[in-house]
Symmetry: C2
Subunit: 316 residues, 2 copies
Amino acid sequence: MSDLSIGVDIGGTKVAAGVVDEQGAVIDRAQRDTPDGGATVTEAAIVEVVETLRARHEVCAVGVGAAGWIANDAATVLFSPHLAWRNEPVRERLAEQLDAPLLLVNDANAAAWAEYRFGAAQGQAVIVCVTLGTGIGGGLVADGQVYRGAFGVACEYGHMTLVPDGRRCACGNRGCWEMYASGRALARDARELAEESPVAAARMVELAGSVAALSGPVVTAAAAAGDAAAATICTTMGRWLGRGLANLAAVLDPSIFVIGGGVSRAGELLLRPAREEFSHSLTGRGFRPEAEVVGAALGADAGLVGAADLARNTTR
Amino acid sequence: MSDLSIGVDIGGTKVAAGVVDEQGAVIDRAQRDTPDGGATVTEAAIVEVVETLRARHEVCAVGVGAAGWIANDAATVLFSPHLAWRNEPVRERLAEQLDAPLLLVNDANAAAWAEYRFGAAQGQAVIVCVTLGTGIGGGLVADGQVYRGAFGVACEYGHMTLVPDGRRCACGNRGCWEMYASGRALARDARELAEESPVAAARMVELAGSVAALSGPVVTAAAAAGDAAAATICTTMGRWLGRGLANLAAVLDPSIFVIGGGVSRAGELLLRPAREEFSHSLTGRGFRPEAEVVGAALGADAGLVGAADLARNTTR
C-alpha cells in the first residue's frame, strides 16, 4: 500500500493538487483554473487534476479541501461562497468518478491541520489558524484533532461581529471580522485612500495600474517595498486582526495562533501590530499564559498538504 | 468503593456542597457563607463543608468548582475575580487537609458538564453553556469532553468584545459581552431607568426598596410579575445575549446553547428575544442547521453536581 496521498485545494480561481508524502512534502503537482459554470464542471476539474496525478503515482487516498461549509458527514457541501455548491452530495459524486478513498474537508481546517502536523504549530496543544485571503478562513486543532463542531461548520470566525452595525458583509450581516481583517479590507482601505488622497496612494496605484485594480496583494507588496501609506493600512488591519484574536483567545484559549493565507505575506508589518493589539485586548492579561502569534510556515501549500494528510490518516 | 461523590460550588457569597449519586441526584447538602479574609479561610470553609458531609457519607472523590481560572494542571487557581486566589496551589493545600481524591474545576465548566450529563443537553454532540450570574460563565462540552483550552482558561467568552470602546468592564477592557448580558447589566439598566424616569421604574424600585438596591433578581422578578419596564430591560438583554450566541456559533458551532445562572430565571422573557436575535445574527442562516437555545435544567445545583460527577469520573 502506498504511503502517498493526493490533496486538492479548490479556491475561487484555481484548483491546485499535489501528491504528498508522509512527511508533508509535495512531490508532484497539477493545477488548473477553476471553471465557471456550476457544480458539474467544478467536479470534473477536480477529477481531472486527480487523474493527472494518479497516472503518475500510486496513492492510498484523496483529500479534497474546499472553500465551503462541509457537513459533519464529510460528504456534503452545505454552502460555498465562491463555488457553485449548495447542499450537494459532493463526495458521492466524486467517488463515482474516482476509484479511491476520498475525504472532503474545509480548506482552512485542512490548512490548520497541515500547520499542526508539519508547519508552524508542531506539537502544540491547541492551535488556532487564521487564514487571511479574500475573507478569513479558520481552523482549530485541539489535542491532535480537527474541531468541526456539531454540524461541521465551526471556526467560521471571520463572521464574528466585531463592530455592531459596521460594514456590510457578503454573509448578510454587518461588522464581521473579515470586513476589517482580510485581503478585501486591505483593498477597500487602499481605494478609499486613493479617492481621498491621490498623492498618498500614488505608489500603490502605480503598482496596481489603476484605483479599481488596487488589491490586497498590491497593498502588501507596496508595504514590503517601503511605501508608508501601504504600511499604515497594514498596521490598521493588523490591529483589527489582534482584536479578533483576543476574542478567540477568550473562547478557545489556544497555545498558538498561526496566521496564514496570501495576506500574511505582509509578515511583521501585519504581525507586529496584531501581537500588540492582541496583548493589549486580551482579557486577564498578566494572570494567564499568552498564546504566541506567528506566521504560517507552509504558505499556499497548507490547504492541499492538510487535505492529503487528513485523507491518509482518516481513510486507512 | 462508594459511587457517591461530593461537589462543592464556591461563589462570592456562599460555599455550597452536596453529596451526589451516579444519576446526578443531590442526596445531602451542606452550606455556609463565603468568609472574608483571604485564601486560607476560603480553603478552611471548603474543608469544613466537605468534612461535614464526609462524616455522614462514604464518598469516592471530591470535586471543587470555583469561580476562577483553573490552570490545565487542575491544581492551580490562576486568578479569581471574586475570591482571594492569585496563582495559588489550591488543590495541594486542600489535599493536605482532605484525605480524598480531589479535582479542582472552573464552576461554569462544571455546570456545563452537569447539563450535558443530567440536564438540558443530554446526548448532545456539542453543548455551549452560558451561565448568567453577576457576569457570564462559560463551558463547552464536545464529544463528551470538557474543553479546557491550552492553559485551562477557555470559555471566558463573557469577555469577548461585543462593543468596541463600549462600557468599562472589571477585566480592564471595554465592551465585554458580560457588560450587556448579565445580572450586573440588568441592575445597571434598571438604575439608569430609575434616574431618568422614576415613574417607569417605580415598581422595580418599590420591590428593591431603593434605587441603589436595584439588582438582577429584582428586575427578573418584576418582569415575571408583569412589569412592562422590567420586561423591556429583559428584552434588551436577551437581544445582547442572542448577539453573543451568534458569535459563539460562528466559532464553536454547537448543537445546543444552554442558558443557566440566576438571571436565566427570567425564562422566556429572556430566551425569546435571545433566540430571535441569535437567528437574525447567525452567519449563513438558511444554509446550516441552527443550534437550539434552551434554559438550563439543573438550576443552582449545576455547579456542584458537575464538580462531583467530574471528580468521580476523573479520579477513579
